[in-house]
């Protein structure tokens, strides 16, 4: 298989036979969303009454939220320490439970039992809403991601747009928390976060759009389906046409822009411990802090999920079920962010804006135009 055939696939998709491709892809859950599968299993047909549909959707949403909150708890509390420790020659938690795993329980209890301190003259509704906006915007994004094993809540025609729109809502949360905290460090952090997200969201979406040029659809299940085609066969080993292989340049661009989007080194300027104390999080404590902290990890996972969906074939993978592969890919991206965090210096805010507007933006448009020409010429 070659690029031309993928493009041919893409052409198919635009011609309306994309659905056929989607059904070919077993990993994508057969093109059915989770509520549809659920109602099918219960013998209610694909279109039960709206009340039941809503109920199934809530069940699915709960499942996904619980799944990712669990991963955030394990990855954020325990995994983060272990990974960072491995990178920095330490041992990390090993006393509470096997491999120190019970530290998750201990930490959860500790964090939640702390007092929520509301400083004087904070901007009350905004200060309270911001910690909710952050994690919920990330969870919202998961609604349209095909997580494999049939776990996809909805599969709208505009899934691609929706997922970026949802994840961008986080900027609002960051700005709200920074602006309402009545603290200059938070204020600076919030402004930095906004400036950074503005500078990196555009390259992120534009780079993502180059994938859409290949697939010809914004529907994420079809983006995944297109990637399940083999790219080339090397001595019995079939390499699928994941867009990370088809267009590595876009993949790297996206990975870098995503680092900035989730605020990890070398782009962790909004938090910038050492400069801004904790940036927009400075004034938060107790449960509010937990929400912000969780939200940060959920965003990294959402970033990982988007990368997996657009570039790494979504839930596709041998032997293991799709959902497991999806989680593995998400955690791989998470591992990458932690690695950067241990090894990379933080760029200065002005340098970062410069890299975003003058570097990544230009390159992402160049990538888009080149991809468009390539697709246009070959198709």
């Amino acid at each position: 298989m070659s690029v031309s055939e993928i493009v041919f696939q893409a052409g198919n998709a635009t011609n309306g036979s994309g659905a056929a491709n989607a059904t070919n892809a077993s990993a994508a859950g057969g093109g059915q969303t989770f509520p549809e599968i659920l109602s099918g299993l219960l013998g209610l047909g694909p279109n039960p009454d709206p009340g039941l549909q809503f109920l199934f959707a809530v069940v699915g949403a709960t499942l996904i939220a619980v799944l990712f909150l669990t991963i955030a708890a394990v990855g954020g509390i325990w995994g983060k320490r272990k990974i960072t420790a491995a990178f920095t020659d330490r041992i990390a938690v090993n006393r509470v439970g096997p491999f120190g795993l019970l530290i998750i329980v201990a930490d959860a209890v500790r964090l939640l039992s702390k007092e929520v301190i509301i400083p004087d003259s904070v901007d009350r509704p905004a200060f309270d809403i911001a910690p909710m906006v952050l994690p919920f915007s990330a969870l919202l994004g998961f609604a349209v991601i095909p997580l494999g094993s049939g776990l996809q809540l909805a599969d709208p025609e505009t899934g691609f747009v929706f997922v970026f729109a949802a994840s961008s809502l986080a900027s609002l949360g960051l700005l709200m928390s920074g602006y309402s905290s009545n603290n200059k460090y938070s204020f600076l952090g919030g402004l930095r976060a906004l400036a950074q997200n503005l500078a990196y969201e555009i390259p992120l979406v534009v780079t993502g759009a180059s994938v859409v040029l290949f697939t010809g659809t914004l529907k994420l299940s079809e983006v995944v389906a297109v990637q399940s085609q083999p790219l080339l066969t090397l001595g019995g080993l079939t390499i699928p046409s994941w867009f990370a292989f088809v267009n590595p340049f876009a993949f790297v661009l996206f990975l870098i822009a995503n680092l900035a989007e989730v605020g990890r080194n070398p782009f962790d300027t909004p938090e910038a411990p050492g400069e801004l104390v904790a940036g927009y999080m400075t004034e938060y404590s107790g449960a509010y802090f937990v929400l912000l902290y969780l939200g940060e990890f959920l965003h990294i996972f959402l970033g990982g999920a988007i990368i997996a969906t657009l570039f790494l074939g979504g839930p596709a993978g041998p032997v293991l079920p799709g959902l497991v592969w999806m989680v593995i890919k998400i955690l791989a991206v998470y591992l990458f962010t932690q690695w950067m965090r241990s090894a990379m210096p933080r760029v200065r805010i002005d340098q970062m804006i410069e890299i975003g507007w003058k570097g990544l933006l230009v390159m992402s448009f160049a990538n888009l135009v080149l991809t468009a020409i390539l697709v246009g010429v070959i198709a």
Binding site: T84, E275, V277, P345, V347, Q351
Partner: protein, 558 residues
């Protein structure tokens, strides 16, 4: 970059082949010199308090005294006295003390700030602790003690017993005269005293214009522990030596102890056996490695973020040094290992195992330093962040009395180990590391290279110690049980501490305790350069510049 002293000696007044010609200097100043007296190692010219600037300008511009090393203030029964300890960066053995007595009822002296910028903080400290006023000083207020403090604690009539209760309400609100008025676009920001990047309890009053720094004012004194007063209450022989460990407390202890040892030994005319000098040299350089590792590690912390590998690597390697020092001294930070006339005890037995441990460390060090260069100095983002930020040029560095790696990274080739030799340094083969750029990057690079040089010194010391004949291992010379230096003897001596020139001034009064004990802290002078480094830069560079100065608040505040 060599052991040879720079030979650039222009036609400055008083410089002769045999050393400094004080008569020529006195001729230069004419009748402005009221009297001359002899201190250890130098002469002191007494001048009138209203001619300070005239005299110092003449000495700086015509006699080449470009380094105001220290300013000591003290109170006698009948007068106040300010002593400016002048040196030359090109040759610190050429010293001159300028004594400015002022009367008791009107302790006002002309400020030296227009001549030497470094006098700014030194004179504020003198005002704060002793109570001398400096006319023409740009900012005459307390520096170490709170603004609301009553009295001057090192004055003779100060009541030590009277409690000083300063309630929170009585403190001035730092926001009260905020430079932020309705029309201005600037923002006042308190960095510290509780802030992750201040390396202790330092408060930096900052005015920001957007993300850029418009004004910086370090506010120190949060860790002031009256180290000078405490030393004045201890006897020379044993009771003062533990204090220096607590100045630069991040494992530079033996370097600090040596500052006291050198001063007190020369004051009381004690010899130190060669064997002890070698041990001192070796252990001091181990301390320097530990201190520089910490400096580089915390710098990485401030530039990278809190989860950086470099920080942990630095601590891992520092730990090895700490273990060696623990074997030697029994302590990991507060060594108290040096004694007047030598060291406390010989190397630990079995000696071979001890040498083996040091050699293992030295053998592994080049590889570890490569790791730092991989992670830090050759990282492009790191270069982007650190090169050309926080630039300190050589002239400004000299004006502020900057010393140590901070000065050397700005191209000031000044290292007391070479220029005013002590210990066993002159016998060993090593280089002084300098750089020209004077930016944050150069300061980090200098420290990393100084670690290499220290390793070279230690290596040679271990060689020497291994072959030292067993019956010649004299660790202490014969020291009288009670040391009583001559009445009214004055001395100012310095060593190369981890952060730069660590000097001590002692005036004896014939008893077994010093009458005045003044510490010249390198970090105190280096920190003064912060506004020069940071104004106009971005907030992250302010933090990086502060980290690159490598201050330890225990030494700044004393």
């Amino acid at each position: 970059m060599s052991l040879e002293r720079p030979t650039d000696r222009t036609d400055t007044v008083g410089v002769t082949e045999e050393g400094l010609d004080y008569d020529a200097l006195a001729d230069l100043l004419g009748d402005r010199v009221v009297s001359r007296e002899q201190h250890h190692h130098t002469e002191a010219f007494t001048i009138r308090p209203d001619e300070v600037q005239d005299v110092l300008f003449a000495l700086r511009d015509q006699a080449g005294f470009d380094h105001c090393s220290n300013v000591t203030a003290q109170e006698y029964e009948n007068r106040f006295e300010t002593i400016y300890h002048l040196k030359k960066y090109a040759d610190p053995t050429q010293e001159l003390s300028v004594v400015v007595p002022t009367s008791k009822d009107n302790p006002v002296s002309e400020s030296a700030e227009p001549v030497y910028r470094t006098a700014d903080w030194h004179e504020r400290e003198a005002y704060d602790l002793v109570g001398i006023q400096y006319e023409g000083h740009p900012d005459m207020r307390r520096i170490l003690l709170p603004e609301t403090w009553k009295g001057h604690p090192m004055g003779l009539d100060y009541n030590q017993e009277k409690p000083q209760i300063v309630t929170l309400e009585a403190h001035a609100n730092p926001l009260e005269d905020d430079e932020h008025d309705a029309g201005a676009d600037t923002m006042y920001l308190n960095i510290g005293p509780h802030h992750p990047a201040t390396h202790g309890v330092l408060h930096i009053e900052t005015v920001l214009d957007g993300e850029q720094v418009a004004h910086v004012e370090p506010d120190i004194g949060y860790l002031h522990r009256c180290e000078e007063q405490m030393a004045q209450q201890g006897t020379y022989r044993h009771e003062i030596m533990p204090y220096p460990d607590r100045w630069d407390y991040v494992s530079a202890g033996i370097l600090n102890e040596w500052a006291y040892a050198r001063t007190a030994e020369e004051l009381t005319d004690l010899d130190v056996p060669d064997y002890a000098q070698v041990i001192r040299t070796m252990s001091a350089e181990l301390c320097r490695i530990a201190a520089h590792m910490l400096a580089v590690g915390t710098f990485a912390l401030d530039v990278y973020g809190e989860f950086t590998a470099t920080f942990m690597y630095a601590f891992r390697d520092r730990e090895v040094v700490e273990n060696i020092l623990e074997d030697l001294t029994g302590q990991r930070l507060m060594f108290n290992y040096l004694r007047l006339g030598g060291v406390a005890w010989d190397l630990p037995e079995p000696r071979e195992a001890f040498f083996e441990k040091i050699r293992d460390f030295l053998d592994g060090l080049p590889h570890k330093l490569d790791e730092y260069h991989d992670l830090l100095t050759s990282n492009e983002i790191f270069q982007l962040r650190c090169a050309n930020t926080g630039v300190l040029d050589a002239e400004t560095a000299k004006q502020y009395g900057a010393t140590g790696p901070v000065a050397r990274a700005s191209g000031v080739d000044y290292d007391i180990r070479r220029d005013d030799p002590y210990g066993y340094y002159p016998e060993l083969d090593w280089d002084v590391v300098t750089a020209e750029e004077g930016d944050n990057y150069a300061r980090v690079l200098c420290r990393l290279q100084e670690v290499e040089e220290s390793a070279r010194i230690i290596d040679q010391c271990v060689d020497l110690l291994e072959d030292w004949p067993e019956d010649d291992r004299e660790i202490q010379s014969n020291v009288p049980r009670t040391l009583r230096p001559d009445d009214d003897a004055e001395i100012y001596r310095a060593v190369e501490g981890a952060k730069g020139e660590l000097g001590i001034y002692i005036r004896s009064d014939g008893t077994d305790k010093p009458a005045r004990f003044k510490i010249r802290s390198p970090a105190f002078s280096n920190l003064q350069t912060l506004p020069e480094l940071a104004v106009g830069e971005y907030v992250p560079d302010l933090i990086a510049s502060l980290a690159s100065l490598d201050i330890v608040l225990g030494e700044v505040d004393r």
